[in-house]
């Protein structure tokens, strides 16, 4: 298979190998997160090893401020920025189909473009295809949304796009999983490691910097990033729960949306939407204020683009809720569904993939830990 990665990927990996080899010899940072101990157990630091370590790194930046070899030291060690570049590289490498890897190479503009097109496409089609006296009428009855955009169209488009996207991401993660297990240290079975990996993922234990939080902005330790990420992540899960409950109402109780303000789907969705907005805005704020030194600046547009898209999904959803009994409902619904469509399309081709690869890396790490702590520790004088 031809290499689709751009020519600089070997330079990125060579630098990561140099950096992590020095970390393996030093080993002062093993208390901060899982990366350093995992690295000591993979002294060869192959491309697969580095992709694994990069996705294990949560970018908390504690090691940057602790590093006795950070620039201007001539060793110029910058673990967070180096691993961010490798992470970026790994998203591209595991994109499926390979032709779409280009979307991840310039992920910021690509995410922005696809989101904008999808977001504008649905309102445009609605304006063309839906009679205006329906579109701009005030709908209060059960099934009001489907009067504007038929239920069948909505669910068919959603299922096809989301299904394809989940499949594409699944193939990428499966290949990543195969590669990071190749030539790896001994590990327990995945199901024994699952509780630990799930706990690491759900609590973002590795964003705790060994107990004091992250260096989100500067040398001070805070829990801002972890907190905002939790708001976004759990907000997102609440929105998923809202959609699932609504589907249950629709199919099993024959209750059609829109649901009352104090119904379960609306309460879940509202809480989730507020969480997502707070989380995305907070993360953008943290990133913009953050010390640029431990940051790989070229990876930031991808972060901002995805955060912007998720903010738009949540914001349009909440505005739709607020104005659903007005004549604006039809277009707002189309706008909201446009952002959702953009998100569905971008699941495997945006920064969103980080969650899947990180989950896989954490599971691998938990498997290796379950097998017992490694022997990679050398006695220090």
């Amino acid at each position: 298979m031809p290499e689709l990665s751009p020519p600089d990927s070997s330079t990125t990996l060579a630098e990561a190998r140099r950096v992590m080899n020095l970390c393996n010899v030093c080993s002062y940072c093993t208390g901060y997160c899982a990366v350093f101990h995992a690295s000591e157990r993979r002294p060869d630091l192959t491309r697969d090893d580095l992709h694994y370590l990069a996705n294990l790194c949560h970018n908390c930046r504690a090691c940057w401020y602790a590093c006795q070899y950070a620039p201007p030291h001539e060793f110029a060690i910058n673990v967070p920025a180096t691993l961010a570049r490798v992470r970026h590289d790994s998203y591209r490498r595991y994109a499926w189909p390979r032709a779409f890897a280009a979307l991840l190479a310039r992920s910021g503009p690509a995410t922005l473009m696809v989101s904008l097109v999808a977001t504008l496409l649905i309102p445009l089609l609605t304006l063309i295809l839906v009679p205006w006296d329906t579109l701009f009428a005030v709908h209060r009855e059960a099934g009001a949304f489907y009067a504007v955009i038929p239920w069948g169209v909505m669910t068919t488009v959603a299922l096809i796009t989301l299904g394809t996207s989940v499949l594409a991401l699944g193939i990428g993660v499966a290949r990543f999983w195969r590669d990071i297990g190749r030539g790896a240290p001994p590990a327990s079975s995945w199901w024994r490691a699952l509780p630990r990996a799930a706990a690491d993922l759900l609590t973002l234990r590795n964003l705790d910097g060994g107990g004091g939080g992250c260096n989100d902005v500067d040398g001070r330790f805070t829990q801002w990033r972890r907190g905002f990420h939790h708001a976004l992540f759990y907000g997102f899960l609440l929105c998923l729960a809202s959609t699932t409950v609504a589907a249950g109402y629709h199919h099993f109780l024959a209750l059609e949306a829109p649901y009352p303000f104090f119904s379960l789907p609306v309460l879940l969705g509202t809480a989730g939407g507020v969480g997502m907005m707070a989380g995305t805005a907070g993360l953008v704020w943290v990133k913009r204020r953050g010390d640029p030194a431990p940051t790989a600046a070229e990876t930031l547009p991808a972060d901002y683009a995805l955060l912007g898209l998720l903010f738009a999904v949540a914001a349009t959803g909440l505005v739709l809720l607020a104005l659903r009994e007005t004549a604006a409902m039809g277009l707002l619904l189309a706008l909201h569904l446009g952002t959702v469509l953009g998100f569905f399309l971008l699941v495997p081709y945006s920064k969103f993939v980080h969650g899947a690869y990180r989950g896989a890396a954490l599971l691998r790490r938990a498997m290796e830990q379950h097998h017992g702590p490694g022997t990679g520790i050398t006695a220090k004088e």
């Binding site: 393996n24 901060y32 101990h37 504690a62 006795q68 001070r220 220090k380």
Partner: protein
């Protein structure tokens, strides 16, 4: 005028500054290094030797005052001051709580990621993280910190008004304070001073820590009649890779894996049993050996098998397909290196509990005597890396500098490596230097503050 002037930027300096500030004194701390090198040698440190009576999250087991003193006595070459060593051991017990109250975090041993040690506690993230925490707390409490500021000299005299000439960014200034705490370390980054003992080879030493620890104040105070401790020119040395930076290489430049190969001098001849030392003391063992060689350089020669077994290094090896070619890249005489290896091979007795040994070879190789036959052949060149000097000022239990006639200088305190030879003599055990710095830094800060506050009018209260 500040109450307390602290000279230095390592653990002793910050412990002194924080102790004095918390006692209510106004404190200025001046460090000769730029901001990014703040921390002195403590930047490269990792663990702290502490007495503890019971297991805790920081360490398993227990470590008593008597055990600490026994360990120190064993290494100190008879130069240890019993009373001060006991004081340090006793007060080391309080350090975890006190340092954590200053924002320092330790790595718990329970995470399974640390070398097993019941004698030392590890800073989470190492010494630079520890210094960052102390500096941040000091700034938050209102300690004024001047970087890149070099105090040129200190007069050895008691008194309540010290005016010290200093230099900052090329311009001179005078720093004034009621008491002075000197925490400016030894003179390991001062090859001129070292050459008085080591001769021309002092120039071949690589400095493992800060290049700013030149010891001018220490040497001046000794010349003015301060009581000395330790031995002139005595120092802690470690074998480091000769490619390491001239200063600030820290922990990762150490050379390890000697038992897996042969070590030869600049003539290509062996001079030491490579299998003799495999404990953590091996680094300093080889540092001392290499420093005494002509030219202060040696080469670790490995074949492909030996390299695989040796611990990883940040440096690439010199590499060649034959021993003769390797000798040429190292500027060794190929015939002599070949002769050295042939004689080693002739003496090999591959069986035995320690992976083989030699018989009838001088010096012998008592462990891991494996043949060097699998190409390619590799070499790392070793140099002595100097960590700190073991020659400093004698202080009393209040960290006051003593004069040769046995009197303490009121208002002039010292803490850290500048006075550590009073306690450590010419020896070293892991983590003890930081303990000296932290304990005597605190004592010096408290004593300095106590002294100035008794001079101060009533009514001003302590800061807590």
């Amino acid at each position: 005028m500040n109450d307390v002037l602290v000279i230095g930027g390592g653990i002793a300096a910050f412990c002194a500054a924080l102790a004095a500030r918390r006692a209510g004194a106004s404190v200025q701390l001046v460090d000769s290094a730029p901001r990014h090198l703040l921390g002195g040698n403590a930047r490269h440190s990792r663990n702290l030797r502490l007495v503890h009576d019971a297991p805790s999250p920081l360490f398993p087991g227990r470590y008593t005052v008597e055990e600490f003193l026994t360990d120190l006595r064993r290494v100190s070459g008879g130069h240890m001051d019993e009373d001060l060593a006991r004081l340090m051991a006793e007060r080391s017990r309080e350090l975890p709580d006190w340092l954590q109250a200053q924002g320092v975090r330790f790595q718990p041993t329970g995470d399974g990621m640390l070398p097993w040690s019941c004698k030392t506690a590890f800073f989470l993230g190492g010494g630079r993280a520890m210094i960052n925490a102390l500096a941040r707390t000091a700034e938050d409490l209102g300690v004024e910190i001047l970087h890149d500021t070099k105090v040129l000299d200190v007069r050895l005299r008691a008194g309540d008004h010290h005016h010290l000439p200093a230099c900052r960014e090329g311009s001179s200034l005078t720093l004034s304070a009621r008491t002075v705490v000197i925490c400016s370390g030894g003179y390991q980054a001062n090859p001129e001073a070292l050459s008085r003992t080591w001769g021309i080879d002092a120039a071949a030493f690589l400095v493992r820590g800060s290049p700013h620890v030149r010891g001018e104040i220490l040497l001046s105070l000794l010349a003015q009649g301060a009581a000395p401790a330790g031995v002139p020119g005595a120092c802690h040395l470690v074998a480091v890779n000769a490619m390491a930076p001239a200063a600030d290489g820290g922990i990762v430049t150490r050379v390890d894996g000697m038992p897996w190969g042969l070590v030869v001098d600049r003539d290509g001849r062996r001079f030491q049993d490579e299998g003799a030392e495999i404990t953590p003391r091996r680094y300093s063992f080889w540092g001392r050996r290499v420093a005494r060689l002509p030219g202060a350089r040696a080469h670790l020669i490995l074949d492909a098998t030996g390299l695989r077994r040796a611990p990883p290094s940040i440096y690439p090896t010199h590499r060649a397909d034959t021993l003769e070619a390797l000798a040429r890249t190292l500027a060794l005489n190929p015939a002599i290196l070949r002769d050295t290896v042939d004689r080693y091979h002739a003496a090999l007795r591959p069986d035995g509990p320690e992976d083989g040994h030699t018989e009838g070879l001088e010096p012998p190789k008592t462990r891991r005597a494996l043949p060097l036959t699998t190409p390619p052949f590799h070499a790392w060149t070793m140099a002595p890396g100097i960590t700190f000097t073991c020659h400093g000022l004698k202080v009393d239990a209040r960290a006051r500098i003593m004069t040769v006639d046995g009197r303490p200088c009121d208002g002039l305190h010292a803490a850290g490596m500048i006075m550590a030879p009073t306690v450590l003599g010419t020896g070293y055990v892991a983590g003890a230097a930081l303990t000296v710095g932290a304990v005597f830094g605190r004592i010096a800060g408290e004593e300095a503050a106590r002294r100035v506050l008794t001079l101060r009018p009533e009514g001003e209260k302590c800061l807590n």
